[in-house]
Amino acid sequence: MSWQRIQAGMIAIGLLAAVTYLSLGGHMAQAAPPKPQPQTVNVPDVDPHKAFGQKSAPVVLEIFSDFQCPACRQYYVGTNRQLLDNYVNTGKVYLIHRDFPLPMHAYSRVAARYARAAALIGKFEKVEDALFQNQQQWDQTGDVDGIVASALTSAEMTKVRALVKNDPAKLDALIEKDVALGRTYNVSQTPTSIFHANGQTYPYGGGIDYQFLKQFLDQLIGQK
């Protein structure tokens, strides 16, 4: 190998080191166990019935979701339970559900109305679970009402039906608020997760495996 080639190699390594150094700027996150640091994030229009955890959590996570979207179901079934148990219920993450019904799905708007109505009577979690767990069923038949009815008591269902039938415009207005908010984040697909931590916002489109969500959340919580 000629001396010129060795020199070129050394220049390459030097440039690489310089670029890497400039890129990193000594910002390696701490590998130490995460220490939750309370913070206040101004997230608008939070329906308390569709938000879980403590507002002062170090990470605020907004999930824009469509009840008829298969990837949203996968996210709910595969990730959401562990997220609730390990981060939301322990005060590390404040989780907010946002509606983002896509026009390509025939029944997602109807499902969002039922879920909103259920939220207004404090039964969102039950209805969300029923809609996602039985998505393949009502996705074919469009029988959202039947699925929601199977998750609620008859008294609760009467209230939900009344809201859906008598005041769909009110429910649509609430849904549209979420959709409008999503557009400010450039949401174009579901699920989309918007992470807020340390004054920064990280938008992520698509489903997330819990293992990798966990390591990302640990980094967000552990950063100084």
């Binding site: 080639r5 070129a8 190699g9 220049i11 390459a12 440039l15 690489l16 670029v19 890497t20 890129s23 990193l24 700027g25 910002h27 390696m28 996150a29 701490q30 590998a31 979207c69 990837a71 450039n186 174009s188 697909q189 579901t190 699920p191 989309t192 004054g199 920064q200 916002t201 990280y202 938008p203 992520y204 489109g205 698509g206 489903g207 997330i208 495996d209 293992q211 990798f212 969500l213 390591q215 990302f216 640990d218 980094q219 967000l220 552990g222 950063q223």
Partner: protein
């Protein structure tokens, strides 16, 4: 006397391709670490674990390999871009980059054909995998492959600035 012009089509193609693709790879690697949509530079751990979520979303790699790829790919892209720019051992690096680019193209094409609702993860910004993205990666793969072929062809010829062998 020169044996051929230093500026034939192939050499211009290689030069332009090197500058273009080196810039693209360096930026792609840097963007994965810097995350352009985030106002302040995020800590490295945050950026790399964010990228790991994107790598995993392609569902191509075993879980154990996801972090290896996610934690090394941004730096590998920067390194390969710099090497391409310098032009040292071009045959090696253009061949390697063609393989890398083919891997990207395959991943994006597969995600598009399977209607996967995922982000590309190419430049650290939320970008849906669309047909346009498939064409974009396909074009870059063609450019990279052509450049590699031209590099090999040019390497077989004497360098235009080489002094002729004395009789």
């Amino acid at each position: 006397m020169m044996q051929s012009s230093p500026l034939n089509f192939r050499r211009v193609f290689i030069l332009v391709g090197r500058i273009l693709l080196a810039g693209l790879f360096i930026y792609a690697g840097y963007a994965k670490i810097r995350m352009p949509t985030v106002p302040q530079r995020p800590p490295l751990g945050v950026a790399l674990t964010f990228f790991a979520m994107q790598v995993d979303s392609y569902q191509l790699l075993p879980k154990a390999a996801v972090n290896v790829v996610a934690y090394s790919l941004p730096f590998a892209e920067i390194a390969l871009g710099v090497l391409l720019l310098i032009g040292w051992q071009l045959r090696v690096w253009t061949s390697l980059l063609t393989l890398v680019m083919a891997g990207f193209f395959f991943g994006v094409l597969r995600a598009y054909l399977l209607h996967m609702e995922i982000n590309c993860g190419c430049f650290g910004v939320p970008e849906k995998v669309t047909l346009l993205k498939v064409f974009e990666d396909g074009s870059l793969l063609v450019l990279m492959a052509l450049m590699t072929v031209f590099v090999f062809l040019e390497a077989r010829k004497p360098h235009p600035w080489t002094a002729p062998a004395s009789a």
